[in-house]
Amino acid sequence: MSVLVFVEGLNGEIKKSSLEAATYGGQVAQAMGTSATAVAIGDVNEDALARLGEQGISKVLYDADDRLKQFVADAYVKVIAKAAQQENAKVLVFSNSNIGAAVGSKLAVRLNGSLATNVTELPKMDGGNFIVTRGVFSGKAFADVNLTSDVKIIAVKKNSTDITSNAGNTATVEKLSADLTDAEFAAAPKETVMQDTSGGVLLQEAEIVVSGGRGMKGPENWHLIEELAKELGAATACSKPVSDIGWRPHHEHVGQTGITVSPNLYIAAGISGAIQHLAGVNSSKVIVVINKDPEAPFFKAADYGIVGDALEVLPKLIEAAKALDK
């Protein structure tokens, strides 16, 4: 019996959200008195895999098939199912990413397991129960869910686990191959296009997000958002109307109908704080709001507030950020 963690790679390195999943899996294994194995597919280098020891992973199974450098759902599922069988895994851990949740859902069917996505805390195991806490009602509540099947599958919400790093611990890396056939590639992507992410920070994984709303007045003022983001090592985001009118691309839109973020710090400039916007950002640890209207609803959800014109306030923040010793 063991815990199996699926880790995703990006440009050879392991994604931050997968290091969180690895930490989570390592901790579950420890609580269960067993070991944690990771399974990796495609675009990750072996040094990065060995370093998963720092997150409590003892062994990594790696399928280096070149065709899996892009995401092919059915093939990934087959590889992970094989790893699960080989390791007799009773708990499978994923990041709650588009990829992680997709393979997790398919595996729940294939392995006849219980699935919980959007999980924010370690499981409570007692008296035969296995209870995890997950975010529900778009950030407005949490639910405790008992996973009743023999196999439990967990997709961990991003930025809800502090990554451990026990320097020096390394994992052994073993090759894995799952005898893939053409059938698994029937729905393989024709093409994968990566965005030019601002300063290389992925919005979904960012620890700091600087976001602008309609109060920014126009795309010509976005250099202020970008400059502050660059100084803080942050990703940039926007409200829905801003992407609807084309000031910013759709993949930057956060909220109920956009991306959900849960960074340590969310800075909102010229955003009113409508409930649908808050739904995508309300699990941020610290929120700073800049708005010229002291009655803007966003202030109720904020930790720090500045009443003023964003076009005048942001340059002051940029200046102060430049003065920080990094």
Partner: protein, 246 residues
């Protein structure tokens, strides 16, 4: 082309969320229910494809009778008929099994859903249904077009980018914006919806794999600290020294 659109009945986005019975149940009191916003993209795109290519759009909900006003709304927006599986949906696995049973029987070319329900935020039913039926599931898609009569071309979002996928019918996809501009019912639609068929069927024997035992709400913020705009740079220092997030 026969399209099945699965809609979930969820609390309006502005609802206050409360629980009753010792935090064991969601309190529906005073809550307005709507079609899950993401599902409106799936529904509208299905209607657009039908208008362009011919065929039919069936909406499906797994839920109790209180979902019927929103099922009628989907008919008013332009679906041709509806099915409600008369069951209290216990979890996503249960819902996926019901959808699969209906989809297998109906022989649909395309099964469209929303990306995620805004109440239970599962982001899972579409992939489960794809796996249960043994057909591709492309999620979350923000573009869906037919290449020819048997092939669709979709663009799906992945973290930091997108994938372009071509799949043969039948397939499952989940929708998100900007796939289309969701439609709202017009007067004529509302009138005709009253007479469109809404079939109620009993659930297929199916199990749930999880039990919801308890709910809680996030801790309230302790209050906002205001900083004078003239000294706005101060906030950066506070973020480092007080909040310790920089």
């Amino acid at each position: 082309m026969k399209i099945l659109v699965c809609i979930s009945n969820v609390p309006d986005t502005t609802s206050k969320i409360n629980f009753t019975g010792d935090n064991k149940e969601f309190d529906k009191n005073g809550v307005q229910f709507v079609i899950n916003p993401w599902d409106e993209y799936a529904l509208t795109r299905a209607i657009e494809l039908k208008e362009a290519k011919g065929g039919s759009v069936t909406v499906l909900n797994v839920g109790e009778a209180d979902a019927e006003p929103n099922i009628r709304k989907a008919l008013a927006i332009g679906a041709d008929d509806a099915i409600r599986v008369n069951a209290h949906p216990k979890d996503a696995y249960f819902v996926a099994q019901q959808i699969t049973a209906i989809a297998k029987e109906g022989g649909y070319d395309m099964i469209l859903m929303g990306k995620e329900s805004i109440d239970y935020n599962g982001f899972q039913v579409h992939n489960m249904v794809g796996e249960m039926m043994g057909i591709p599931s492309v999620t979350p898609a923000f573009k869906l077009d037919m290449v020819d009569d048997s092939t669709a071309r979709l663009e799906r979002e992945i973290e930091g980018g997108k994938e372009v996928v071509e799949v043969k019918l039948p397939f499952v996809a989940s929708a998100q914006q900007p796939m289309c501009e969701p439609r709202i019912p017009n007067m004529r639609g509302i009138m005709t919806a009253r007479t469109k068929p809404l079939k109620v069927v009993e659930p297929a024997g199916a199990e749930a794999k999880s039990e919801y035992v308890n709910y809680s709400k996030p801790e309230k913020k302790s209050g906002v600290k205001m900083i004078d705009a003239e000294n706005a740079g101060e906030v950066i220092k506070l973020l480092r020294n007080e909040a310790k997030v920089l």
